[in-house]
């Protein structure tokens, strides 16, 4: 059976030559499969993606994938979540095991390049790398960390930034690299490392899982820029548009003051042409980006709310992570979130 498949592939190769990447190929595959395969950080990342007691994934990154599924299928449940580690995520995406990564991956030139051939349609979270240390060490700045042992995840921008930072300040460090975030946190918690480094939000998430979270402090410095967002493979313009305009819809809704509670009422009563187009009451903007419905934005907001609602539900001040909006506020509120106009 395998042999025939190989033979057929070989024969096809001889006849047709290498297959050109066609626009829409990945999207066609997702549609014909009927589910979106979404790579999330495994085993879990509190606030961003954790399986609940029923094994259903919950979190900020999870809802981004569910929102994309609404745009594609008009069904938030047609997502299959695949836990990936920091080391396995990009090979998994490149090999087609997952269609999209929603796991706090940083947008960098190398990853976006012709070498790695990934695509970052939009930024959903602006972060920066930080370091966490036990309070009893009395460290106040990352520059005091000469000679420290640092717990870091392999295969991350964090690992590379860390190296740059220490080199820049002429400091030395010993890395302890474990790809499983839980195992790495245990190593830090038991005192194997002096320092735990990751993106600020991820550190805040990990701190909630330590034996005594209050005994650890995240230093104020940000040693890098970490724009995080969903990642897909290069070569499918339609999927790029779908992911980008799903994220933009969440941001736009917050800017327009549309939320889970009032979306139906606004759709029914608003006379603002911009709002009417955005919610699919007028025009066909959904169809023009290959969404399942013209009113895809309205469907997303009806089920998950706007960006601010998703943020506050999983990461905001009321949650164990307790993250302020900061840079992750819409641009009219002093943040960096800015969606191109939906018209």
């Amino acid at each position: 059976m395998k042999l025939t498949a190989f033979a057929a592939a070989a024969a096809a190769f001889m006849v047709f030559g290498p297959v050109e990447a066609l626009a829409g190929r990945d999207l066609d595959q997702i549609r014909s499969r009927g589910t979106l395969r979404c790579g999330v950080q495994g085993p879990s990342n509190p606030g961003f993606g954790v399986p609940d007691s029923q094994g259903r994934w919950q979190g900020f990154n999870v809802e981004i994938c569910r929102a994309v599924a609404i745009t594609i299928f008009n069904d938030a449940n047609r997502v299959e979540f695949v836990p990936v580690t920091s080391q396995s995520r990009f090979p998994a995406l490149a090999a087609g095991e997952v269609d999209i990564l929603s796991n706090n991956s940083t947008w960098t030139l190398t990853r976006d390049s012709n070498v790695n051939r990934f695509n970052f349609p939009a930024i959903v979270f602006y972060d920066g790398q930080s370091v966490m240390v036990p309070r009893r060490l009395n460290v106040t700045s990352a520059r005091q960390l000469n000679g420290a042992t640092v717990c870091v995840q392999p295969g991350t921008t964090t690992e590379l930034n860390l190296n740059d930072f220490f080199r820049q300040h002429n400091l030395r460090f010993t890395p302890v690299v474990i790809s499983d975030l839980d195992e790495l946190r245990r190593a830090y918690d038991s005192g194997r490392c002096d320092v735990f480094t990751n993106d600020f939000a991820a550190l805040a998430a990990q701190r909630t899982l330590l034996t005594r979270p209050a005994d650890h402090v995240i230093l104020p410095e940000r040693i890098s820029k970490e724009p995080l967002g969903p990642v897909i493979r290069q070569g499918d313009e339609e999927l790029t548009n779908i992911v980008a305009w799903t994220v933009f819809a969440l941001i736009e809704a917050e800017e327009l003051g549309i939320n889970m509670a009032n979306v139906e009422q606004i759709a029914g009563s608003s006379t603002n042409p911009l709002v009417r187009r955005f919610l699919g009451v007028e025009g066909n903007m959904g169809e023009s980006i290959s969404a399942a419905r013209a009113d895809y934005a309205r469907q997303i907001i009806r089920q998950f709310g706007n960006y601010g609602e998703i943020y506050n539900r999983h990461l905001g001040p009321q949650t164990p992570l307790g993250l302020d909006r900061g840079q992750n506020n819409i641009w009219t509120q002093g943040g960096l979130l800015y969606a191109p106009p939906a018209r």
Partner: protein, 394 residues
């Protein structure tokens, strides 16, 4: 189908094959070779097609690019600005380091356990039996995590245990005094080597004398005198080598030699796990030697220790060595479980390289080739040893 017909007519072959057995055999061989080559070619082509479809380039050029990521420990003086090739070499040496030390220790522990398993003492026998069964029947990954957690329960670096002067034991592993690499050290090492060679020569001469005259004199005392005397003499002449002691400065101990907890956890896990299998191999090897051999040796008046060493073990080794080779190979390959506890072995470094460069097929092909090479070399050495102890037919 009828079974009543008494004589079956000779069936006409579908393809008329040449009649001769040799010719037919050659034809089949050629057909099989062609099929294997075609299969290999289709797999390769399939890979290239798929890579081309995803716009990926096949090639090993990335090996000369700067890796950029740090590696916690290793034999080379690696820095993140070194190339991927050097990073992978560092990982390879880390694998080799744990495998070689592991094989030696697992063999020693395994042989002792195997002998204990056959002991006349029922307590020793049953304790060893229990140990072997528990270790053999639980997954290695669990054991590794178990050892790693235990080591992390050691005191923190500031409260490090100090069992011997200069030795510190903590969560950060073991710190010990190091001899600085300088001419004084080399002269001492050279003296040590000379002493060892002299001892071997001395032992040979005594052995020849024993065969000739039947008299036996131990070379133990002059041997040790040489081993200690010559390096000390060298120290007096060329200066004593400098010892560097680890010191607690800031966050960690500085100076001296260090062994990480990850290395220890992996080493202990692999040694304990493999030794249980080796013990069983040793036990079965010894039991394979006929009881008559014991009785004959006893009848000659040999002491029990010498019976084991001179009569039983040489015969048992022939049964023991081939399965031992498999255990050595298993230990080497199992060392790739290091990723679970964060020891930077070949697979760990390779995984990060794949993630960084996207060259999955190339990196995996490299580490497969390296594991294959390690395994083939181990097999080769063991086969040579096996031939040396094999029954000599005269």
């Amino acid at each position: 189908m009828s079974t009543t017909s008494p004589i079956m007519p000779a069936a006409k072959p579908l393809i008329p094959l040449p009649a001769g057995t040799t010719m037919r055999g050659l034809l089949w061989q050629a057909a099989l070779a062609a099929a294997v080559i075609f299969l290999g070619w289709s797999i390769y082509n399939n890979m290239l097609t798929n890579m081309a479809a995803r716009g990926l380039q096949f090639g090993y050029g990335f090996l000369n690019r700067s890796a950029g990521f740090p590696i916690g420990e290793g034999l080379l003086n690696y820095t993140p600005s070194d190339t991927y090739a050097r990073a992978l070499t560092q990982g390879f040496l880390n694998t080799l380091r744990v495998a070689v030390v592991g094989i030696v220790l697992a063999t020693i522990l395994g042989v002792l356990l195997g002998l204990a398993r056959l002991s006349a003492n029922p307590l020793l026998r049953s304790l060893t039996g229990g140990y072997i069964e528990i270790i053999r029947n639980t997954p290695l990954v669990l054991q590794l995590v178990f050892w790693h957690s235990i080591i992390l329960q050691l005191p923190s670096v500031r409260q490090a245990l100090n069992p011997l002067p200069g030795f510190f034991l903590s969560q950060r592993g073991v710190k010990m005094p190091a001899l600085l690499a300088e001419p004084a050290l080399y002269s001492c090492l050279l003296a040590l080597l000379t002493a060892a060679i002299l001892w071997v020569g001395l032992a040979r001469r005594e052995r020849a004398r024993q065969i000739e005259t039947g008299e036996r004199k131990s070379t133990l005392i002059p041997g040790f005198a040489l081993l200690i005397g010559l390096p000390v003499l060298a120290g007096f002449v060329f200066g004593a080598p400098t010892v560097e002691f680890p010191e607690l400065t800031g966050f960690n101990f500085e100076g001296g030699l260090s062994l990480s907890p990850e290395f220890f956890a992996l080493l202990i896990g692999l040694v304990v796990y493999t030794s249980a299998f080796i013990a069983e191999i040793v036990r079965s090897g010894i039991q394979s030697v006929h009881k008559g051999q014991w009785e004959a040796a006893r009848a000659l008046g040999l002491a029990p220790g010498r019976i084991m060493r001179l009569v039983i073990l040489p015969q048992a080794l022939r049964v023991i060595i081939p399965p031992m080779t498999s255990q050595f190979l298993n230990l080497t390959k199992n060392s790739s479980l290091a990723v679970v506890i964060g020891y930077p072995d070949l697979v760990s470094v390779a995984n990060t390289s794949i993630n960084q460069t996207g060259q999955a097929v190339e990196v995996i092909s490299l580490f497969m080739a390296i594991y294959l090479a390690i395994s083939l070399v181990t097999s080769l050495l063991m086969n040579m040893y096996n031939r040396a102890v094999a029954l000599k037919e005269r």
